[in-house]
Amino acid sequence: MEQVKSFYETPSPAGLTGIKAWLLTHDHKRLALMYLWAVFFWLVLAVFLGMALRLELMFIGETIMGPEVYNSFFTLHGVIMIFLFVIPAIPAIFGNFFLPIQIGADDVFFPRLNLFSWYLYMIGGLVAVISLFTGDGFADTGWTFYVPFSVSTETNVSLTVTAAFILGMSSLLTGLNFVTTIHRMRGKGMGWLQIPLFTWSLYATAWVQILATPVISITLVLVVIERFLNIGLFDPARGGDPLLYQHLFWMYSHPAVYIMILPAMGIISEIIPVFSRKAIFGYKGIIISSMAIAVAGSLVWAHHMYTSGMSDVSVFVFSLLTFLVAIPTAVKVFSWISTMYKGSILMTPPLLMALIFIYLFSVGGLTGLVLGAAGTDIHVHDTTFVVAHFHFVMFGGTGFAFFAGLHYWWPKMFGLMYNFKRAYISAVLAAIGFIFHYIPMFILGLQGMPRRYFDYLPQFETGNFLAGFGGILMVAGILLMFINLWVSFRVRETATADPWGGTTLEWSVPSPPPLHNFVNEPEVLEYPYDFSGVLARAAKDKG
């Protein structure tokens, strides 16, 4: 491939140098990297908080923190992980970097709005930090901010929800940018059925971001109004309804789970065919299932409220609807497995992490059925079973997909390759630690240990000790993974433009890509996962 200057050497707008070339950039790739470093910071902080919580719970009684600090820590862990890591990570980093390239565009439709979204993200994070050190301390409500406690607590709930409000706006504007980009900026020959599945997943996600985020924004504003003006919106004594808050909160926050998981599924849909050297099974099926998850996932919010006292009819209807979401989700999992069947499997770190994703996500999904069925949910509601389920889906799922994406696209983003052996060891260590960490929580939950409790009865000690031990292994694996990627900057083993043999457009441009992404007019394949060219090249190289 001809030598061209990468986007690192070409600021946009032209003429900017040094830090200004980053802080005022319009280039989607630079913004993606700015998100990467910010997200990385928050992830490390939230992992540290989570680890501190598990260390406290490893032994019965107070060990490293008191109950008030524990309450603030799990709230902060949740708020950071949800609003600053899981929701923005994949769309803001990989979406920003690869969506325009995958559709043959030179940038997103609104580059300045993209920069503004990054600033909103940073301001939201900053407000969350300020809320730590002002007023009467960080919120102790959990990330759900349930009334009436969030209205009556003395802690700094107003500023914390303001942070969430600002972060929501950042997420919404990114979604708006992506929808517009996909509609308006697809390259020549890029019809809807030529779009890669990662971009399709971002499209489905973006719609959920646009439609659902305003609901949480308004709801959080209502909490602030209630705290300052005491109107009685959620107070039954004055005609209000505390369940109204829960409805409004979950109208966003359940679809938000799909904002978190759909892009992760998009990454897996990219990785599996590339390393199976085989066209993805059910391309259209996966697209339809993405859109179906986006729609059906928006209709099931009240399954978080079975024990809240809402009507039995509502419990029945939302339980039924919840089970419908399992169908498109299963379509995806079966399609990935079918793609691998009789494929020419090439084991690499991204594929290993994708396989870990499929396993952990499937366990998370299936335990979700226990929670979706009202009868069993009542038994395990608000126990550590829910915590384990949620982390299997969000961390075993989205987290490992994020790691897989990071290892899959790292050579493209930085033009550097990492050490495979360390990547394998770190992934296996993180996965084993993960299983030791969360499986005991399923058992503890079934035995009746409540979530968000600072201390517990003696019979829960073994399980909590094991969970803490698993947590240490998992964090060690994640740290090794990040160190390995960091070392690639020092070793500087150059990556080729297409180290994996991919078929989507990002593999047709140099690593790292030039400012306007494409040196020549991109050649769009009739079918985005047609490996005949890749296999022919491999056969030719072989001799």
């Binding site: 509609h183 308006r184 719609w207 646009i210 439609l211 659902a212 609901v215 369940l243 109204l244 409805h247 109208m251 928006s298 209709l299 009240a302 809402m310 009507s311 039995d312 009819v313 509502s314 209807v317 939302f318």
Partner: protein, 95 residues
Amino acid sequence: MSEHESEHILSYGFLAQILGGLVVLTGVTVGVSYIDWGFLNVPIALFVASSKATLVLLFFMHIKFEGMVIKVSFISTMLFLAIMISFTFWDVAFR
């Protein structure tokens, strides 16, 4: 992509007619509030308000002259709003 979109300038006269329609409907809102329609009080008020909102959207906000993508986006937004409101009645109406 947006074959159907074109610049559309509406005359002052036409916009004044729409404004007139809105003023009349405001009068209707006030008028019907003096009559007790029983159960229909709220549905009638909502119907008049929705009619006014429709006029604003179609003509002042030019939805009538937009392409299919914008129309579908808008309708899906309204649909989701309707779902979110109506589905809460599975709870509220059966408590």
